[in-house]
Symmetry: D3
Subunit: 331 residues, 6 copies
Amino acid sequence: MKVKVITLGEVMMRLSTPGHERFLQSDQFNIVYGGAEANVSVSLAQWGIDTQHVTVFPPHDLGKAATQYLRQMGVGIDHVYTAPGRLGLYFLENGSMQRSSKIIYDRFDSAFANFDARQVDWDLIFDGASWFHWTGITPALSQYAADMTLAALQAASSKGLMISGDINYRRNLWQYGKGPLDIMPELIKYTQVIVAGLADFENCMEINSSSYEEACVAAKKAFPQIKYITSTERDAVSASENGLHALLWNGEKLLKSKTYQMTHIIDRVGGGDAYMAGLIYGLLHHKDQEALEFAVAASVLKHSIPGDANLVSLEEVQALVRGEHVGKLLR
Amino acid sequence: MKVKVITLGEVMMRLSTPGHERFLQSDQFNIVYGGAEANVSVSLAQWGIDTQHVTVFPPHDLGKAATQYLRQMGVGIDHVYTAPGRLGLYFLENGSMQRSSKIIYDRFDSAFANFDARQVDWDLIFDGASWFHWTGITPALSQYAADMTLAALQAASSKGLMISGDINYRRNLWQYGKGPLDIMPELIKYTQVIVAGLADFENCMEINSSSYEEACVAAKKAFPQIKYITSTERDAVSASENGLHALLWNGEKLLKSKTYQMTHIIDRVGGGDAYMAGLIYGLLHHKDQEALEFAVAASVLKHSIPGDANLVSLEEVQALVRGEHVGKLLR
Amino acid sequence: MKVKVITLGEVMMRLSTPGHERFLQSDQFNIVYGGAEANVSVSLAQWGIDTQHVTVFPPHDLGKAATQYLRQMGVGIDHVYTAPGRLGLYFLENGSMQRSSKIIYDRFDSAFANFDARQVDWDLIFDGASWFHWTGITPALSQYAADMTLAALQAASSKGLMISGDINYRRNLWQYGKGPLDIMPELIKYTQVIVAGLADFENCMEINSSSYEEACVAAKKAFPQIKYITSTERDAVSASENGLHALLWNGEKLLKSKTYQMTHIIDRVGGGDAYMAGLIYGLLHHKDQEALEFAVAASVLKHSIPGDANLVSLEEVQALVRGEHVGKLLR
Amino acid sequence: MKVKVITLGEVMMRLSTPGHERFLQSDQFNIVYGGAEANVSVSLAQWGIDTQHVTVFPPHDLGKAATQYLRQMGVGIDHVYTAPGRLGLYFLENGSMQRSSKIIYDRFDSAFANFDARQVDWDLIFDGASWFHWTGITPALSQYAADMTLAALQAASSKGLMISGDINYRRNLWQYGKGPLDIMPELIKYTQVIVAGLADFENCMEINSSSYEEACVAAKKAFPQIKYITSTERDAVSASENGLHALLWNGEKLLKSKTYQMTHIIDRVGGGDAYMAGLIYGLLHHKDQEALEFAVAASVLKHSIPGDANLVSLEEVQALVRGEHVGKLLR
Amino acid sequence: MKVKVITLGEVMMRLSTPGHERFLQSDQFNIVYGGAEANVSVSLAQWGIDTQHVTVFPPHDLGKAATQYLRQMGVGIDHVYTAPGRLGLYFLENGSMQRSSKIIYDRFDSAFANFDARQVDWDLIFDGASWFHWTGITPALSQYAADMTLAALQAASSKGLMISGDINYRRNLWQYGKGPLDIMPELIKYTQVIVAGLADFENCMEINSSSYEEACVAAKKAFPQIKYITSTERDAVSASENGLHALLWNGEKLLKSKTYQMTHIIDRVGGGDAYMAGLIYGLLHHKDQEALEFAVAASVLKHSIPGDANLVSLEEVQALVRGEHVGKLLR
Amino acid sequence: MKVKVITLGEVMMRLSTPGHERFLQSDQFNIVYGGAEANVSVSLAQWGIDTQHVTVFPPHDLGKAATQYLRQMGVGIDHVYTAPGRLGLYFLENGSMQRSSKIIYDRFDSAFANFDARQVDWDLIFDGASWFHWTGITPALSQYAADMTLAALQAASSKGLMISGDINYRRNLWQYGKGPLDIMPELIKYTQVIVAGLADFENCMEINSSSYEEACVAAKKAFPQIKYITSTERDAVSASENGLHALLWNGEKLLKSKTYQMTHIIDRVGGGDAYMAGLIYGLLHHKDQEALEFAVAASVLKHSIPGDANLVSLEEVQALVRGEHVGKLLR
């Protein structure tokens, strides 16, 4: 069976200072493009999965460059819209040791956030697709974006797609007059695979628990269509070193992955998106525990790569799952 | 007499592709800061003039970096305000030969444009100052910015400062519901030195003439406080080569500067601001024709320097006016 | 009518020294990808033309990066094959003034050159296509590549496509035991639009003439299917400055384009390919003289852009044809 | 109470190889400016403290660039002198693991070292100031510099400023005919806060002890005006990893800070100056133990930042003291 | 006694992505030159040893640049030949943590591999020389290269030189129809110092043993001229961290070096060659255990330096052997 | 006959801002090494001439890097001395158009200037040599350097070498108490080929004439050993464009070379040294007019190459003399 994954979300230009320079000292930015949902499509495309990313760019050259980026990475752009407005941006400063990495967002009022998606033909988009992935960032941007997410979910659901949603609650979004509890429960109703930490349960589902498994059970009760709930857990020693493992609740039990020590982090942005992509790939191809191990290994590799995108091959993820090649020089 | 110049305007982060790369192919931007009015203060500061630039930055690290830039260049920052919002940006692609240079602005909704200046103490700002410079870009940004410009002009005028204004009409600004004719005439009324080309006369003063001198006479009639009207004239052979001279009407006659051939342009952005700074310096220190020659020589040198700022010394401008050192290797 | 253009040829990694550094002094190379035929598809893709580039890459990461490049530029990669072997390379040193630019090729024994194309389904490739473009570089590489070109031409011809061929004779290719006269005439027989200079006529068609028009008439006599013969003519003042115009013989008369003076050349590699792409676009959309002017304007703009690819929009070429925007700063 | 800190010392251009390149392989240097005392002012300026750095630069463009640097960082330059001579330089090669970092100084005969400070109006400089900081590097450079230090200390002392001195004995300075024991004791007499390790006690105060606390007691006996003696202690695992803590003797007892493990050092130059700045800030605002913790946390953060300067905010240091944010991605 | 070392082998251009970029994302390569045997000469030249490297380059500018590199590093180039063909290349992507470093070789059909060495005057080359070093890479390239190695060994042996050989079996070489067992035993017969791991024993000497010491004894039995057998042992925690020690069997017993933990590896390529150079230097100047310690310390330092070459001084290696300076800032 | 050329002079580290950045805005320097006399040896080495450059470096890594540079370029370093002190430096800012290029020297008190050359064995150095080249920069640095020059000249003269001297009067040198007239005439007495402009005649030979030919005749009268007097003449249109030709007086008549227009100068530093090297090469191999044409063509090519060194081949210079290849793309 041919798999096809649809993702929906804003793609921003990312401007990062070179090396470990601070914003206050750098006169140069490195440019890539990224967004929580597009990053998932990019990962999946590296592994041979057919993808389409639904997004909106301004019609100028920076929007074209962002489109080119998706195309370069192998992501389908059949449903990339252009509309007046600006390209969302984010500025990144890479931390080190006790100094944290920092992001300054500059994404308000973007062409994406202000896009009226009512003319979008979601049936066409989801035609032949197997999976739809969204995140809680999109409905947090604007009423337009929240409406677009709901419309997409309804169409995907009616087409019978598997649907995953990364709750990803961020306090500094949600500035358009609605709160997460106004919007998110309605969207979660359509979603079978949920990425959520305890704060997400609390802020977006009004589920308060200090036990992850209990929270999962409560979520399932409130949203019975849920099949999987998952989260990565990070042991943040410093900006340079983290431990990483993940949890996957499959309705029956809470699976836990192997823990990896990431001792020389190059770039942690997109680590969660790499996990999500790994989980989609894994659930489409493997049993639950294997899927989980694939996902966390994918996320670990992301931390070794500059940029938002997890530019690793299937073979590289699989080798790490098996513990092969680590520390070798591959010739 | 100690001279002190006050400038008012937005300062943007400028992101330019390296070398002659196009937006579509670059993965790096060089960062400087600039704005039509701040560029004037930077030029003047290189020549030992005491300056203060009045502007507004967001309170995050990019706003701090912009503040640092002004301070580095020797511009006074006693009246730099911080307010919520974003930092205005512009993206620059350097052209070459038959390919034009291109700017993509991303400045709407900036901390500057949304700043309510009613609490600003203009009397304090203008205390001890000799000259105030504004441009038509500021009132084109927002009602707030237009109000701020008017308040500044009224205070500067009541303090007896010399006032210069660069009309600088840009069609793609003026998006907040007012047109230039609603706003500009009221501001021009306070201004003694006007930078205006024929299109500016037409769009901002309703003066239609194909003769520069006639337009000047008409402007003086409409705005009797005007003492000087000036403009640079560019013979644009290509993106790499321009001829440049300038005109200065002093109420009596139209003076014309020497013409320079700029055969290997490095960066033309800020060329007009360098001219304006040169003219302010010139009119403060020299007779009209000398002032004009100083200003155009300053502008020519700007075209040889990357960035918005005209980082040249007084001695360098003076030597060019005298035709000295050109083509020499200075040891 | 939807237009679709197929191109066939090797794509090499291009490694160029930064700025004007010589091979002997540089410790860094800038990387892009290019090839005479792919460059044509890249140009056409910028102008909204549907393209597919047929080529072969090794299965390692550099081959993937080259594939990504084509995809980024908007070129179709449905018929990009992978096969064992190496990626062809070329090293470029940019000259200046009296110092010439230099290319060192390292393309022998590439995956492309050694690819046995007998299993390629040319009918599928040309299905729905309107135009096929090849160059004399491909048959000069190896017997395999010559055979592939012939097979492609036969299929394209039987499908009724318009066929263009850039003769592009290069003495230092043709190392596999055959000479151009053994191979090229057979290939030219299928071709309606020929790019050829006087040396090409001589080496690949045995037509010796010092008059371009006479050579065209002789070529038509020998190859009656020819509809157009064309060539750019370069007045090479120095590595930094060239004059450029082009000739187009349409079976009736020899049209000559406007001459452009290119005074600050950034990168001349790919200038001919940009012309070819312009001519294909022009002949598909315009009358002969207009097509010619479009093509030469496209080629001029290429000389202002680093890399092999002519990253210009339709609007930019059209504006140059009309003489608009030259030397302007586009905001 | 408004605090104002005066620092005195040479500012050098620092030329460092990029990344981990050795001097023997690099064809590029990154440029910043730094000096033990100016680094203190730069740190303090980041935290909102009013500073003035007293130094001397040559009158050429490199001297201007150094002045601009201080201004950019927010340090007062009212008392920066220009005098003929050269700009002191130092070359830095960043080590890694078992390979040590290396500095080559090229600072002899600088404009600073040869500056006759007799005309300096120290009373004016110290007017309204609260703290004066000097180091043992200055008197080690030349008789002129030693005289300048003494004159500054006498004036600061008579004005009642708090005075700190970093003994910082370096064997390869002191080349002008005097030794540290000829000069330093006289300077220490004016100083209340002393930074000294055991080797400094021995070389500059003739105090030999293997116990830090005993040495402090002996120093207090010899120099009764002393209020604090302090030192950082480094557990140098490798060039990439150090442990760091600090000691502060306050006349009563020896306080010890928390120990930090710095596992991925970016740049250790200026770590001691960051500590000193932190201690000045701490002693001005906090009790002794808190001051010490602030200082060592500031120093730790410095090790994560390229360049001499500790570009961290007050909030960042305070958060580290509280153990917050470590390993987080700040959005 | 003046020592002179001769090395023989291909020198390739190494093209590595900057920082930790993957091949799939980089548009720039850093260029150095290297080869297993030339790296040994470069190391030895840093320590004042007279060296000559015998190799072959194509006659174009890249061959010249490679020659310049050897000369720059202080290696003798009296016996560098030029011959038609290409320069061997290898592409390097630096890994990090769980992501392995990757090399793509592009060295087939190089000028070196295709060089007919029959006219080489080996007697002249070895005149006055004390040591000859070869590796198993050369005979694996082509019959020509295998023949050249044999001829060199015969000449070196008849001149009484000490001969070392790094077996260095690589499966993906040996593509010219011969296997290692066809060629290597004959070459090993001339060699006194053998670098071999267990896989090398098996593949090139048909000695199968899981005990290093037993394998050594067996090798000595088969090749009685052998005096030393040695190998480094790597504990590969990750691409960023390795433990390293080495073994040296001297015919009597198996010596083991100190173990070093390399916690922040910059570049591991050439680590083995640095060890070999250290061992040659050590055996020429020290007793066995000291030689071993020198060699492994040299190798450790290599891992901190970008590029193939171990640019460290004798003093630096000696200090590390003594455990001095580690973690210090050398001024 | 084997030719061997000896040059004597200081080699400085050159630190230049990238592109056209000013000192005031750059945070990076590109590093090469150069000196008027070493540049001559580097040029000659490119053309296969055996050279030795006599100079002095400090014993640290920057001195080693400078030595490596000479070796890389193929210059003999058998007589490179090390002595305590600093490495001379110069900082370069590349101008453009009306903005002049600027050099800041920082070369006083260098290891070279303070080197007591009395122990140098000049007879050994000049053994087998054919030509000695010196410039007026060396005796202008210090009494030591003047003495060294004289000793070298006496030895070279007694050995019968051809001797060339580039007078190269620079007012800002000569700071050690002697003037050019105290020193230069004695040195000129040993010199057969003199590079001198009218200012050099005046300042170093007390010959005042506005006619170049008359000055030559007068010089020959005063210094009868002179065989050739020569000078380049520059028509400095701007920093970006110069005309260049040269004059050569051979005792009989004044020869004038072809004039070249250099329209896009990349780097003019070393242009005179490239001329000198060309003249030495030319006079050793050709008749006077041909030698002159070779020399000026060599100098023209230098202006197209970044750095001090004229990295061009014999074939490239010869082709330019013949007017070939100009504006071609060499494949």
